[in-house]
Symmetry: C2
Subunit: 879 residues, 2 copies
């Protein structure tokens, strides 16, 4: 009751104020839509990046203001009284990561007041995800998860579901966003602002900024959504309508007792801005986005000026101004019965001006991108195990990882366009979330295991360890010499819905090892000597990240095949062999010298690769099963980062922008021979391309694809030039400038070199302007074959040359590209004070199929990359 009284009085205050006589000025803001007039919908909004120059928490509390003056707490604190002061005022709020932080800090009374404002439509949640996710380098599962997390909160607290998509800042827009995160979410419209400058110009001239966007080819019309790109950006229109505290825009000075009265001028400015926008917009409804990044620190300053503008503009009568929201605007558009052009596919790549393609960020911070992807897959598995075990609010759960992952989808997070300290913050949050999820997974696996053995699930005794640093060959759990007769139990969990056969690889110390399955049967295994490149990686990064030097270095990778049921697990045990001869098979190792004229064929299964010594590249791919053969060359090159510092129109290459200043091929060092390891399970060819690129090509006996592991870095910069490292897989396929890249790990979209469906492309960046984001993979085809490449993280790629696929693996740049981050993308790691450029380890997979037959592998194996088998280790438990 108290609450209602409070709210009523707040409202009363608005009424009292607007009814008061005297010299006190009363503004009429009650105007709705007027049919015959140009209606200017003032949409009051703030755009609050969930981390960028500051961390999400710093933005929330308003710390670290020397970097950027921004405090979201101020925005929300000041918003409520501003809305209460006039019931006509409206505001939209977008980023739930911030709103939730604020909500948790509020009194119940305040929460009730806010609920009233929401129910009255004065405060509307738009978009409603935890963040405004990126659309290029996000996986659709992450997009759904982070949106769900926000929407669920809104549903729980306010009983509502957001109606509108509001992706106003992401750097290009994806088809999956339009249909899956738009139409399928139930949104009535989707608004955004960053589209190619050439596209925008044409759309303005044709009044086609607003369209019906059909994002899915297969779903067709059911996937349509009304979508609008803003004429310029998501800020107020030109003409001085920024009303933040201390902003220089002229306030409406309507006090005739003071100097500089300017009502007519300001009304004319407003009308001019409205007519200009009406000129590029269909129907007599236009939207003014009244706000921008972190504005409304003191909401009153904006609303006071908007009150005045609405009042005086409507008195003037040329146009009709009203407080509105994207929902009201969308309804008005819908009611207009206007014809809207149809837009298909997506809005990639994005350039905001000549030579400024935002295609660098597809690869920026490849380690963070991989970490996010890895955590995403882990989160999926952990949630399953959480369900199996039963969710606990007190014990370890996946909430923290869910939250960290949600935030990491922000368009300055996984994109790599944040400051270094903010990137660290995202990683820290993932790490904290992972650590808790890891505990949950360990408990849940123990519970599953022990209930199998009828010990119940309340108290588990098995302690499972996991090895998140396997990528740097670090796994304390498996690095046990087992000399005291103990077993190493390996639990392998499969989070996919089908039975999987795969090969597990773990580092071990001793060579006389036997692997047994859960029935106690010895199974085949193979030992591969740990390459020096891996040892170096391990030693450096364990020190850099854990601050300690591991005592012993494992000598081998132990590889053994596993078979795991869908959504289930298998267990294996590893022990020292007690009898001679029953060991894991050691790989045969030999080197292949460049001076020979001979060739080298590897591969124990259907797929085989032939390496020719003179070219140092694999030159022949053959699949014995389906008789596919192809000449395949694999190579590396780098792009020099453009230094535009002293240009007339400066544009450096940077975290956002890919602007190469020449392509340079990277030749393998002739003197270093290939190292070849062969065994029953896998063949590996190790190549040291140069001092900072190492590559391993793997052919598993039971797989019909090639796995390529690369170790790239530290990229040398001692010549003062930033570099972006790409790899090319070159075939003879006649691909006719056409290639296919995925949208957020889902649909593949046809790309054509130097071509856009929606306008006649003026080519100024023949490489950067043809780059697309790759989350799942990329493929090319001719009338006979198709070459598919799948990736382990988002990166940029293209097919610049017919028959060739190119992936950008790593970027190290020395200049800022003037899009706000104000830092060069120059990632380093340090051991004490010794810092060097970041080294990236990763994998991609390729395969050649008869044309039309690649899809199944891309889809199935793509899922397996996303959801690798989850490994957990325990010691001493006899099976």
């Amino acid at each position: 009751m108290k609450i209602r009284v409070l709210f009523t009085v707040f409202l009363l205050m608005g009424i009292v104020i607007s009814c008061a006589e005297s010299k006190y000025m009363v503004y009429n803001t009650s105007q709705g839509i007027v049919p015959g007039k140009l209606n200017v919908h003032l949409v009051a909004h703030t755009h609050d990046d969930v981390g960028w120059l500051k961390t999400v928490d710093q933005y929330y509390v308003g710390s670290n203001n020397s970097i950027q003056g921004a405090c979201v707490e101020n925005v929300l604190d000041s918003l409520i009284p501003a809305l209460l002061a006039d019931k006509n005022r409206k505001f939209i709020y977008v980023e739930q990561a911030f709103f939730q932080r604020w909500w948790r800090d509020q009194s119940e009374d305040m929460q009730h007041v806010v609920k009233q404002l929401v129910s009255l439509g004065q405060l509307e949640f738009i978009n409603g995800g935890m963040c405004m996710h990126d659309e290029a380098v996000t996986h659709y599962i992450d997009m759904i998860d982070q949106t769900t997390l926000g929407h669920r909160f809104i549903k729980n607290e306010f009983g509502l579901t957001p109606r509108i998509g509001w992706q106003i800042d992401p750097f290009g827009h994806s088809a999956v966003q339009a249909y899956l995160l738009g139409a399928e979410v139930g949104f009535d419209s989707l608004f955004f602002s960053r589209i190619d400058y050439q596209d925008r110009a044409k759309r303005k001239s044709e009044k086609s900024l607003e369209v019906i966007w059909q994002g899915s080819k297969s779903l067709g019309q059911s996937s349509q959504i009304f979508a609008g790109a803003f004429p310029q950006n998501y800020e107020p229109p030109p003409g001085g309508f920024y009303f933040e505290v201390n902003d220089p825009s002229p306030v409406v000075q309507d006090n005739i007792n003071l100097f500089d009265y300017n009502v007519e001028e300001r009304v004319n400015d407003f009308v001019a801005a409205a007519l200009s926008q009406a000129n590029v917009t269909r129907t007599n409804h236009i939207m003014f986005t009244m706000g921008t990044d972190f504005k409304y620190q003191y909401a009153h300053t904006w609303f006071r000026q908007m009150d005045k503008l609405i009042h005086y503009v409507n008195m003037d009568g040329h146009v009709n101004a009203l407080y509105s929201t994207p929902s009201i605007y969308t309804d008005a558009k819908h009611a207009s019965k206007e014809y809207w052009p149809v837009k298909t596919n997506d809005f990639f790549p994005y350039a905001d001006r000549v030579n400024a393609y935002w295609t660098g960020y597809f690869t920026s911070r490849p380690a963070l991108k991989r970490y996010v992807r890895m955590m995403s897959g882990y989160y999926l598995a952990a949630r399953q195990l959480e369900v199996f075990k039963g969710r606990s609010n007190t014990g370890p759960n996946t909430d923290s990882l869910a939250d960290a992952l949600a935030i990491a989808q922000h368009h300055d997070a996984v994109t790599g366009t944040e400051k270094q300290h903010v990137a660290n913050d995202y990683a820290k949050r993932l790490s904290i979330g992972y650590t808790e999820a890891e505990r949950l997974v360990a408990t849940s696996l123990a519970c599953l295991m022990e209930s199998t053995s009828h010990t119940g699930c309340q108290i588990t005794t098995t302690k499972f360890q996991q090895c998140p640093l396997l990528n740097i060959s670090y796994c304390p759990a498996s690095e046990n010499d087992l000399s005291h007769g103990e077993n190493l139990i390996v639990v392998v969990y499969n989070s996919l819905g089908w039975k999987r056969v795969d090969v597990v690889r773990i580092p071990i110390i001793k060579e006389d090892i036997i692997v047994r399955d859960s029935e106690g049967r010895e199974i085949e295994s193979q030992l591969l000597p740990l390459a020096d490149a891996h040892v170096d990686l391990r030693n450096y990064y364990v020190q850099a990240y854990l601050g300690r030097t591991p005592k012993e270095t494992p000598n081998y990778w132990l590889a053994f095949p596993v078979s795991v049921p869908p959504l289930g697990f298998s267990t294996y045990s590893i022990s020292r062999a007690k009898r001679a001869g029953a060991f894991s098979t050691k790989s045969s190792v030999h080197t292949f010298q460049g001076i020979d004229k001979s060739t080298l064929q590897v591969g124990q299964g259907n797929v085989k690769l032939t390496f020719s010594a003179d070219k140092w590249k694999c030159t022949n791919y053959v699949n014995d099963r389906n008789a596919v053969k192809e000449l395949v060359e694999q190579s590396f090159s780098f792009y020099a980062g453009y230094n535009g510092t002293s240009d007339k129109n400066p544009q450096n290459a940077g975290a956002y922008i890919f602007r190469p200043n020449g392509t340079f091929s990277i030749k393998p060092q002739e003197q270093v021979p290939l190292t070849v390891m062969r065994g029953p399970i896998v063949d590996e060819v190790h190549q040291r391309i140069n001092q900072w690129i190492y590559q391993i090509t793997r052919l598993y006996r039971d797989r019909e694809h090639v796995e390529v592991e690369f170790v790239v870095g530290p990229i040398p910069i001692d010549d003062g030039i930033g570099k972006e490292i790409a790899t090319q897989i070159t075939t003879k396929l006649a691909t006719n400038k056409t290639f296919f890249t995925d949208s957020n790990g889902r649909d593949f979209i046809r790309r054509i070199l130097d071509y856009r469906r929606d306008w006649n492309l003026e080519v100024n960046q023949p490489v950067a302007g043809n780059y697309y984001p790759i989350n799942l993979g990329i493929y090319i085809q001719d009338d006979q074959k198709e070459l598919s490449v799948l990736v382990d993280r988002p990166l940029g790629g293209s097919s610049i040359v017919d028959g060739q696929i190119e992936l950008m693996l790593h970027r190290r740049l020395l200049l800022d590209d003037s899009r706000g981050v104000a830092e060069a993308l120059n990632e380093t790691d340090c051991v004490l004070d010794d810092c060097k450029g970041l080294t990236i380890q990763g994998k991609y997979y390729f395969r050649i199929d008869p044309v039309g037959e690649g899809a199944k592998w891309r889809r199935t194996f793509g899922q397996e990359i996303y959801s690798p088998l989850l490994l957990a280790f325990s010691e001493g438990v006899r099976l």
Copy 2:
């Protein structure tokens, strides 16, 4: 009733919030003074300059933010809800010019809410004048008037009188401020921050920043006031306690669910700042001035952090933090029964560091300073005439002039330390106020005149003109050739309380003129040819300021003696002579060549000056009545403005700072002879010193002082050097480094060269560090004689050499002196696009008396300078 409900609910909201349970944080801010502890009084305040970089109206509405982000409307708008949210929060507001603007805009409901806050002591008015007046170059009458104007409003609206003086920004502090505007106003204490850096250092070491200040020698103990200088400035203590929107100070992050929790750190910072300040302060009470220029744009940001600090600091317990006001602080100091050192005299001059004496502003913008002084005297007369006539709220009144004058006393107004456009704004306000007051004066004089002739006062027929531009020889009313037999009626009003005999001077066209008194008796008059220098001034400035060229140029000044009763008027009539020989006496004019060895004596009365041709200066002063004789030389020099741009510790000369780079004497041009005009009433000696200095020395028959008129400018800057023009009057008096300057036109204070009473002065600026503000005058004496100089406006002066008085007349500088104004003090005037440096016309008066006999003249004639006879002209009315 509605009002009370509204207020109660606002309060309720505070209570609701602070009683709410849940995760919502409740801060305990209720702490009062704790006797045994160090009490830290947090005084929340904003310092709102009534014009500086922006005009007063621009500051109020928040326009012109590109110059400075500042909007006082925001401060007051946001303050009220912040105070309502917690009844322990307190705030002081100072500048009534802003508060009144805001008050007029508020609804009655809001006014009632504010009245409640004031009555509860949450909002306290401090200082309470329209502005925080300057103390160096303001006249005490203006100080009283502007303070009264503010206090009267507060009394009328709130029934209260401010208790505390708060002069935190003026550039040095005057004795008159302490006793007249402090103790005599009824203030319990006076706080300020700008004192000499050497003084401050000593006071900190001796804990004597807080004193009993006895500003008046004659009033003694009854003029005492408790006065405190802040340890550093009027901002928060060092350590990061600025909490404006977007300020970089670390906020108190007390949310354990977010990263960067820092409560302990911030508490420690606070305690450290408190202990540091306690170390230089007597008693266990210290004041933190929580605010600075134009802060509290969103008051919530400050109060939220102060809430947290009070809460956590008091939990910590090392010190006791509380919301306080200067009143509470003063009461605590009083209750402490501490002994306080006594301070006498004043705090001039002020240097904030080595080589940075704020003594330039004593003269900066000499034309504005003169305009303010002239308007001040006019306002005094106009108010008398307003009372005579009866005050009207609808007809013309003096309110607008009162308001303009009040604002012009601000410490960045009459000081000359504002930007040019702001100086223009002050002048514009004065001009508007004058124009209205001029109408009132005309009506009132007509009323007085006509009621004399029994025509009543409701409708007057006499139309009076006045001549505010007499200083540039422009007076359309008197520039009538009277060829059609009409009379020119001159009404002479005396606003002083004693009968005055004076000489009126007006420009006229024709020479055959007769002046008659109100009885129709012909009286003596004298014609003096208009000097070319005056004609040039007139022609240029009439064009520059009025945008027109006067048709005819007057040929003469007509001078005639008048006699006017106290607070009364006399009328004179001027007409063309009808009979020959009965004309005004033409002055005899001759020139005095520099090549002669002869001397020239002028003066028809007791005082005579002898000019010697070889030195081009007057060399002998004699008063026949009292046999005072003295060698007097008068000379000009300039100081080159210091250019410190490339120094290690840069400090240029500028609007604030006087930092000469050498003194250069200005020699008269040998070839130009003196022009001497003699007549029955006045003798004049005209000297062209150089192309841009012209000087007239006048001796009135019936006066025993010398009047010196100077025309200085445009100061040449074609050598790239800024210059400050000074004049010296040199005698043989043995003055022993001692001289006397007035405090705000009232008490004279003894000054000793290179010496301060309160500390051992370390001399680094032997000229600038000895300059003092002069409003009324300056004098020197030895055991026989005293030389007094009175001025027509504030300016800087000193006695650098024994026996010599120096006045700085004009300044033109080319660099900014880094105290915020960010403009060079380079005043220009333009006719169309032709701009040149400002020319200054002004007067000073000197006289030599037997020692001890000068005071009467200084006091009496000083009043006459301040309140010149008011002249009004009418045509055609027969007396």
